[in-house]
């Protein structure tokens, strides 16, 4: 007995000595919350090796209500009409019934609760009324409609010239100009996120690169032998831009005056990896909205004469406006008038513009007038047999290249492009279903798979939304109303915001 008691005591002692320092919170460099009109520090505590924000700080900055329901063992965070439920013991949060994972469970210290930094991107951003974006590398939280592209730089001496490469994400309009001994890169933005700007290189044409005097400027100080510069832009990964600026030395190129002193800046090797570690969350650049039917193809008809083609176009226009205003994303419509559009053309618009999402809008019909409610579809592959299965599992093919060696290329059959995106389409369909359910009544078959013609050729996550049944009298009246059309558009915006957040934290 004595031995056992001794053992227990020593185990307890070991646990205490290990456990206490781990639980002891310590401070870390604060984050900065940047909004249109202010920059405010957001303190960070390190608890158990995890960087954490105080829920009270987040509540103050983002207008949240935090309720500590000790009896139920839950912490409720409310933003507008949306609620996040946290449980003190678990690294999980429930956002309007959907579970997301967190890197650690919330921690209580005194009267305050602390949540991992990722809570902001995974839980808060998806439900917030305005944009909230967490940028861990630069320790920033962007709040509201602020344009703050990330900028990173690399400097390489290349013989007679020095090449400065700037990666900018997302793509931002800019000008490059010379001002005495400085090259000024001015961006059309509110501020720059330029934490990755430092470089140790100096050459005879390049001295330093730094954030400029104004918040939207990057300044390059040129060296004593600098003669001229050439700048060129090229598209970079994940919707960014790469600006290549070549600084040319004066002695190496004794060219007659009047002719350009340098050859144009060569586009950088496309194989060069991006300087910025771009999250896929920033990858939503273009969305294609497909207004179903059109022209002679009127689609389903209501008893009071409502035509499906008119309802789909009206909602598509509303959705486009809402997405552009709220997400600043490029939105393309497969038709913006009453014309017939072939199915292949609809998918082709999305594929050719490298859209990130494809949403086809429709209104339903049934031989039974009682049927009502909205439905979400994604593609079922079983109609496409072996061809579809092969496309889903396709791996890059290796082709020999002239001069030896080989090169991997990926062949995507147009016919079954969607096969590769089924999993993402299913996830997006679930997002859409959940968001629609908050705004409109769903049919008992709220989420389904079918071999739909318009979806199969889309080379990106794609869903088809049946907004309601025109063959149901009450629903026909709803479908033509501003209120219902806005509710559907709002639900789809919410779904895209959430899908983007989840896809980005994966």
């Amino acid at each position: 007995m004595k031995v056992r008691a001794l053992l227990a005591a020593s185990i307890a002692a070991v646990c205490l000595t290990i456990g206490v320092p781990a639980q002891q919170p310590s401070s870390a460099l604060p984050y900065t919350v940047v909004s249109k009109d202010a920059r405010r520090p957001l303190p960070v505590r390190v608890v158990g090796g995890q960087e954490m924000f105080a829920l009270d700080d987040l509540a103050r900055m983002f207008g949240l209500t935090v309720r500590d329901d000790t009896a139920a063992g839950a912490i409720t965070v409310t933003s507008g009409a949306q609620t996040i439920v946290l449980s003190p013991q678990q690294p999980l949060a429930s956002i309007s019934g959907r579970m997301i994972s967190l890197p650690a469970a919330p921690v209580r210290e005194g009267r305050s609760w602390f949540v991992p930094v990722d809570f902001v991107s995974r839980a808060l951003a998806p439900i917030a009324a305005s944009r909230i974006e967490l940028r861990k590398p630069s320790r920033l939280v962007l709040s509201g409609d602020i344009r703050m592209p990330r900028v990173a730089a690399r400097v390489e001496p290349l013989g007679s010239l020095t090449r400065v490469t700037l990666d900018v994400a997302p793509s931002t309009p800019h000008t490059v100009s010379q001002d005495g001994q400085r090259i000024i890169v001015r961006f059309d933005a509110d501020a720059l996120d330029a934490a990755d700007l430092r470089t140790a290189t100096t050459t005879d044409t390049f001295q330093s690169i730094r954030a400029g005097d104004a918040p939207q400027i990057v300044t390059i100080d040129v060296g004593p032998r600098f003669a001229s510069f050439r700048a060129a832009d090229q598209a970079a990964a994940a919707g960014g831009t790469r600006i290549v600026i070549d600084l040319v030395s004066m002695t190496e190129t004794p060219t007659p005056p009047g002719t350009p002193a340098t050859p144009p800046a060569q586009p950088a090797n496309p194989e060069t990896p991006p300087l910025l570690d771009l999250p896929p969350a920033g990858g939503l650049r273009a969305i294609v909205i497909d207004a179903g039917h059109g022209g002679d193809d009127v689609g389903a008809k209501g008893a009071q004469g409502t035509l499906e083609k008119n309802v789909t176009l009206s909602v598509a226009r509303r959705l486009k406006a809402a997405l552009e205003a709220r997400l600043g994303v490029r939105v393309l419509l497969t038709r913006d008038g009453d014309q017939a559009v072939a199915s292949d053309q609809r998918a082709a618009l999305a594929n050719n513009n490298k859209a990130d999402l494809f949403i086809s809008l429709h209104a339903n019909a049934s031989v039974r007038p009682v049927v009502s409610g909205a439905e979400v579809f994604y593609l079922a592959l079983d109609g496409y047999g072996e061809q579809g299965q092969r496309a889903a599992q396709a791996s890059p093919e290796t082709l020999p290249v002239v001069g030896g060696g080989s090169r991997e290329i990926e062949i995507t059959p147009w016919e079954t492009a969607q096969a590769r995106h089924l999993e993402q389409s299913a996830a997006f369909a679930r997002s859409v279903e959940a968001a629609l359910r908050e705004h409109v009544t769903m049919s008992p078959r709220s989420i389904q798979q079918a071999p739909f013609r318009v979806l199969v050729g889309a080379n990106m996550p794609a869903v088809l939304v049946e907004m309601g049944f025109l063959t149901n009298g009450a629903q026909e009246q709803q479908l033509v109303s501003d209120q219902y059309q806005n509710a559907v558009a709002q639900a789809l915006v919410d779904a895209i915001v959430r899908f983007r957040a989840v896809a980005g934290t994966r």
Binding site: G299, A365, E466
Partner: protein, 195 residues
């Protein structure tokens, strides 16, 4: 010794007789009986007209709540070959059957049925199938799978079904379901418990 040989012979003879009954006699008797039963079922009640043979087939109609297809057992004309039987089943499916509600618009006629060696059936329907279709994803799914399931459920020789309109391959009936390939049976759209 003599008694023992006689006993062995008796056992062998008994074995042969038993085997004949089990493997030849009984199956013959049963099949004869089944044919008689089918013939009786197919015979019209009046008895004066020539016998029209019928089979029982599973056809599909839209459920009361409009959310599924319901399998319904109905008598369908007997076809001696698979294409003939397929034709009879589709024609029965195209015929109005009050109080059932069909997902196929009234007035659609069958132009022909072709079956390939791979078990793909091509069902050629009149243009009314598109012209009179009310549209909507759910109804179009029900229209397509009424025909696909009616053939694949009743005829094991048919694996997949492709719908043609006026003799031509079509993209869709009303803008949704991809009809460029033959479709396999899908019971996802069918209510199971009434089966």
């Amino acid at each position: 010794m003599n008694r023992r040989q006689a006993a062995i012979a008796a056992i062998v003879i008994f074995g042969i007789v038993a085997a004949w009954i089990l493997f030849i006699g009984l199956p013959r008797w049963y099949s004869a009986r089944r044919e008689r039963v089918v013939a009786e079922a197919a015979a019209p009640a009046g008895g004066a007209q020539p016998a029209v043979r019928k089979i029982t087939a599973t056809l599909f109609y839209v459920s009361d709540d409009g959310m599924a297809l319901v399998p319904v057992q109905r008598e369908v004309a007997f076809g001696a070959t698979t294409p003939e039987q397929a034709r009879a089943i589709v024609e029965a499916q195209l015929t109005a059957a009050v109080p059932q509600v069909s997902a196929i618009p009234a007035g659609v006629t069958l132009r022909g049925v072709f079956i390939t060696e791979r078990g793909d059936a091509f069902v050629d329907l009149s243009g009314d199938i598109t012209a009179k279709h009310p549209g909507g994803s759910l109804d179009e799914i029900f229209t397509v799978y009424t025909l696909v399931n009616a053939l694949t459920v009743n005829l094991p020789a048919i694996q997949r079904v492709q719908i043609l309109v006026d003799g031509k391959e079509v993209d869709t009936l009303a803008g949704h379901v991809d009809l460029r390939h033959p479709l396999a049976k899908s019971l996802e759209w069918v209510i199971h418990d009434t089966h």
